[in-house]
Amino acid sequence: MSGDRPDARELIEAVAVWLAADLGPGLEGGDRFEAMVAAHGLMIAARELELAEQHATLDAAAFAPLLPNADPGGDLGRALAEAIAAGTFDDDLPTVAAVLREHIRRKLAIARPGYDDVAAP
């Protein structure tokens, strides 16, 4: 917002691009592989900086209706995980699955964009 540029996300992206396009290709074998892993990790971090806040809002809005007794300001993801494990939704798993599918799409947008595009057997 009011900080200097490049901001955190731009810095991280710049280092990631450098690792993948400049340093990495000049390395051999295991080192090259690790440079690519490093770039991949940094890009996840960059996307998380961009998307985490809006995802948290969307997750809270999606989970709250499933957890009428939970503190709406609390950790609804953990409350949902515990409720599922306790068998609370055993008679209606499809409803929870539908909500969680969208939650996982959001996580994939950060961790592996496009993974949910491919229909895998």
Binding site: V37, H40, F63, E82, L93, P94, A97, L100, A111, Y115
Partner: protein
């Protein structure tokens, strides 16, 4: 590189197994990403592999038990390196024949001989027909054992993963009837078998073996994370599940396979989640393991697709 094992211990073990060597013995470390300490043992034209626990590590699995299962598999005609001797080589380990060939996944995929998937199926058939005598007590319900193990992994990781919890709940509520237990390799995938021009030469790395439902190995072999992008070849990125089942030679209930397919994603997801916790605890500082933890979302996605609620 770890300190080399004592050549005299190896010489004595080979002599004790009826394969004495007279001349000089050469030891070379074998790279390859195994969690165990691997050494190539050469004497003249002859070759063996020593596989032992890394020095200084408190091993989570038993090399003696691994020797026993590899011998059982070998006796049953499963392609595995012939096990020769178990003993103390500085740390517990086993000597086995050296098997020439390629194990690196990308290389195997580039030059995969046709029929490899069928051969994997046939190997799994031999494994399911292998005697389990002397390999310990079989679990009453392999699915319950599997669920309990994943539950423990998730609890140890400590993160809130509602999608994995949903998968675990579905698995708990939809267990197939307990199967007669057989030998399960426990980590059967590209990278754990040696391939030559003639096809499958040896299944290696039996570290995670257990007695259980043989369908578990079929499902793990066909799991999406190790198809290396080849989603059109679900059996290890090499071919079709039908080819694999053809070699396996026994009817596999589709619901049972689907259960173990879903379980495979859950096990993989729990593994991913665990890597982050282990790093926080200082148990490792591997970049690859740290970043792989973020693949948990992929496991959650694939698991939801499989159970298709």
């Amino acid at each position: 590189m770890s300190e080399p094992p004592d050549g005299e211990l190896i010489r004595a073990a080979l002599a004790g197994a009826g394969e004495p060597i007279a001349g000089a013995l050469e030891l070379r470390p074998l790279p390859g990403g195994s969690s165990r300490d691997l050494w190539l043992v050469a004497a003249g034209e002859r070759r063996w592999v020593l596989r032992r626990d890394p020095v200084g590590e408190r091993a989570q699995t038993s090399r003696e038990a691994e020797f026993a299962v590899q011998r059982a598999a070998h006796d049953a005609g499963v392609p595995v390196p012939r096990p020769i001797a178990f003993g103390d080589f500085g740390t517990p380990g086993m000597l086995m024949d050296y098997v020439e060939g390629e194990a690196i996944p990308r290389r195997v995929l580039r030059n995969a001989p046709s029929g490899l998937v069928g051969q994997l199926g046939v190997a799994l058939r031999a494994l399911r027909e292998a005697s389990t005598a002397g390999l310990g007590e079989a679990p009453g319900d392999p699915c319950v054992v599997a669920i309990d193990a994943v539950r423990a992994e998730l609890d140890a990781a400590g993160d809130a993963l509602p999608a994995l919890e949903l998968g675990l709940r579905w698995l708990t509520l939809n267990r197939p009837p307990p199967a007669a237990a057989g030998i399960v390799h426990g980590d059967l995938r590209l990278g754990n078998f040696i391939v030559g021009d003639d096809g499958l030469r040896a299944i290696v790395d039996w570290e995670f073996w257990h007695l259980g439902d043989p369908v578990e190995d079929i499902a793990w072999l066909c799991a999406r994370p190790w198809r290396f992008g080849a989603d059109d070849r679900p059996a290890a990125g090499l071919g079709s599940v039908a080819e694999l089942l053809d070699g396996f030679g026994a009817a596999v209930d589709p619901q049972r396979l689907r259960w173990w397919d879903a379980f495979s994603q859950l096990k993989w997801g729990a593994y991913c989640a665990r890597q982050a916790a282990l790093r926080r605890d200082g148990a490792h500082d591997s970049l690859e393991r740290t970043v792989v933890a973020r693949r948990v979302a992929e496991a959650e996605w694939d698991m939801l697709e499989l159970i298709d609620l």
